[in-house]
Symmetry: C2
Subunit: 420 residues, 2 copies
């Protein structure tokens, strides 16, 4: 599925190409359930469906995440922008550009309707997933700008401050979060940039993050990738195929909170700087002890294969636990956290260097869950206090977003239920 | 060609895998001329050859560029590091990991010989291209630390300051530059990171830059990509197939300067921030006038097809030039610059946001040429003074590197001729 090429048609004049018009919607609503859809590198993933795409969708290779601040107090303007965003998202995830370069309305004297840098590129598995942050419901000055404070779910209460947090406010939080995932980063960047363009005067970019390599699998069809510590990450992740577990741990159930979130999920983002140069100087044995797994296979230190169950009771000859008490594997394991599980969807990042001779690199952690205060918070509380890995990492940004269920039909739009 | 998987072999102990040893070199020296090699997404590009790979090699999709400062004054230590780098580069571009995770020498008590995050990934068209900056020959304090000041080519004289330059010293310059290009960014990042690891104590990362989408074609086998202004970029680029033009404009010829650079090329890097939000508010007609081409097809405004020759004499009904006097196309065109041409190899970047509600995005410009002072400098001087595009761009970083010819055989190493 290729973006319509205006190129040859437009010629030097570059105007006057008929828009796809009414035919467009039909392209985007043929699958109500994107859950099990696996797109090849060029394919399109359905935008409409019971769930938002981009959560259990097999994790694409690249990420552009953007947190926006709403800079208008005008509720109607915000809702109108969300409608415009929805139409643009449906179009872009289907691999179609507005493509008329200003000619909608007929005039090349207007700014183009699409920035153009993805022209000719396929849909590339693009998904756009929206979430609403706590500050949209009540801002930092305590104002309920949009009359929705009463609709804020309890699960969207601010995250607590964790020990060792080194959060930078300028790259944390946000009123609205949009996760763009695609196999081609140009397509993901294009999508975020065009949402920013459409939202001009209503939203501004608070922070954004590029991720170049996925660190989790969200489907059994995918192998477990590696993070920048060189270890496989997300071996025990929730997977799209585990329907019962997803209802238990991922999707908001009826009665959990306000109806507008039923069928949705909560997203936690944490930018975790990794001190990779220090890590790279650590002996292999120490790295493996810290993680609790071997580096090659990714097996727990009590096993031989990646998916072997760890034996937390096993002791070595000296009577010490084989999987150390402060190892990442033990502390993060569901059995050690009252069964708490999350669907992780993180990405590796490198943001240049840090001015101190080191790469500014790490993990942009993202997890989706039914209630962050019952899942992410208890796990992170334990990790922040005890994890041996803390010597090598630093949490520098944090975000929390309520991601509603999907839009079942093309006459629906982002935020409709929330603002109804 | 797959990286050797230690995984299954290593098991929980993760040690004791025999190194590839003597067989390794044979894998990497079968092609003396990488120029015309086109790799599929997973393929390996020969490291050894008459030219360095990564210059006319069909531009890969992703970039990680790194400028290093040499932090030792010990010439022998620097040369030894370059030897180690060469061996690592040959291995990584062939898609092989050290793969023994510390077991070379036998002990898991040593840091691993490879950071591991590319384990299991194919070579992905990785190329590593090295260049030496002016400060390696004489540092900012005037010191000739390595006894090579007399070998500095005239062509490596510092670039002049151009009008409107807004260069940040911390992300400019560098003693050594390494360009890693690959189809998988994880592979490019892994390569730079492992060179940094190997160079610990001898070099430190001065600055680094990720590029997510190529903006130029270096082969007729590639379509012209788009930059973040949404326009096709590099339509008239030098191409691998134009052997005579490459000798004239790209490769250093005998007698041009010191012998160690004959057959090499000079690299100019410029990080160009694009004010894309301002651009996105400009009418299509204005964008096209500024560039001198139409946005859809990429044709000059006097033509209909991308590769049509521009007619700089053509006038519109009012007697004004169709291709404006201050258009980017006219000012950068070889006919307007005494025939000066370069091989461009730039990439789009997004480095998060700028704290002012905008994406920090643009073009990481890279050009290779026979003599930057006869090619890049005169063109950029004209552009910096007159280009209508200047309202939308800002040059924030600059680098200049002398890239020697390739290593013809596996007993050669980076910098051998320079330090001979």
């Amino acid at each position: 599925m290729q973006r319509r090429k205006v190129l040859g048609l437009a010629g030097a004049g570059a105007a006057g190409v008929a828009a796809a018009g009414a035919g467009a919607l039909a392209l985007t609503r043929h699958d109500p359930e994107p859950v099990a859809t696996s797109a090849d590198a060029g394919g399109a993933i359905p935008f409409y469906g019971r769930r938002q795409a981009g959560i259990v969708t097999p994790a694409q290779d690249r990420l552009h995440f953007c947190a926006f601040d709403v800079i208008t107090d005008d509720r109607a303007a915000l809702v109108e922008m969300l409608q415009d965003w929805t139409a643009a998202a449906a179009r872009m995830t289907a691999g179609r550009d507005a493509g008329t370069f200003g000619a909608v309305g007929g005039s090349p004297e207007a700014p183009p309707d699409d920035t153009g840098e993805a022209l000719g590129l396929p849909a590339s598995g693009l998904t756009l997933t929206i979430g609403f942050g706590p500050t949209l419901f009540r801002d930092a000055r305590g104002r309920d700008r949009f009359g929705i404070a009463a609709r804020r779910p309890a699960a969207l209460a601010d995250l607590p401050k964790f020990p060792r947090d080194a959060l930078e406010p300028a790259i944390s939080g946000g009123d609205i979060g949009v996760q763009a995932c695609a196999h081609d980063p140009q397509v993901a960047v294009h999508a975020i940039r065009n949402l920013a363009r459409i939202g001009m005067g209503k939203v501004s970019v608070r922070w954004s993050q590029l991720g170049f390599g996925r660190t989790s699998s969200t489907s059994r069809s995918q192998a477990t990738p590696r993070n920048l510590f060189g270890f496989k990450d997300g071996t025990r992740n929730l997977k799209a195929e585990d329907a019962a577990l997803l209802d238990e741990h991922l999707w908001v159930q009826p009665g959990d909170g306000p109806d507008w979130m039923t069928g949705g999920s909560y997203l936690v983002t944490r930018k975790i700087r990794m001190l990779i140069e220090t890590w790279d100087r650590s002996p292999l044995s120490e790295q493996q002890t810290i993680i609790g797994r071997d580096k090659g296979e990714g097996a727990p230190l009590t096993g031989a294969r990646e998916h072997d169950e760890p034996d937390f009771a096993a002791q070595d000859g000296a009577g010490l636990p084989v999987i150390a008490a402060d190892s990442h594997l033990r502390l993060a394991h569901p059995d050690q956290n009252g069964g708490a599980r999350m669907l992780r969807r993180g990405y590796n990042f490198v943001d240049g260097s840090d001015g101190l001779g080191r790469l500014n690199a790490g993990l942009f952690f993202m997890s989706y869950q039914r209630d962050p205060h019952k899942q992410f918070v208890p796990v992170q509380s334990r990790l922040a206090k005890q994890d041996a890995l803390n010597e090598y990492i630093r949490h520098v940004s944090s975000g929390l977003f309520a991601c509603p269920p999907g839009l079942p039909a093309a006459d629906d739009h982002w935020g409709r239920a929330l603002f109804a």
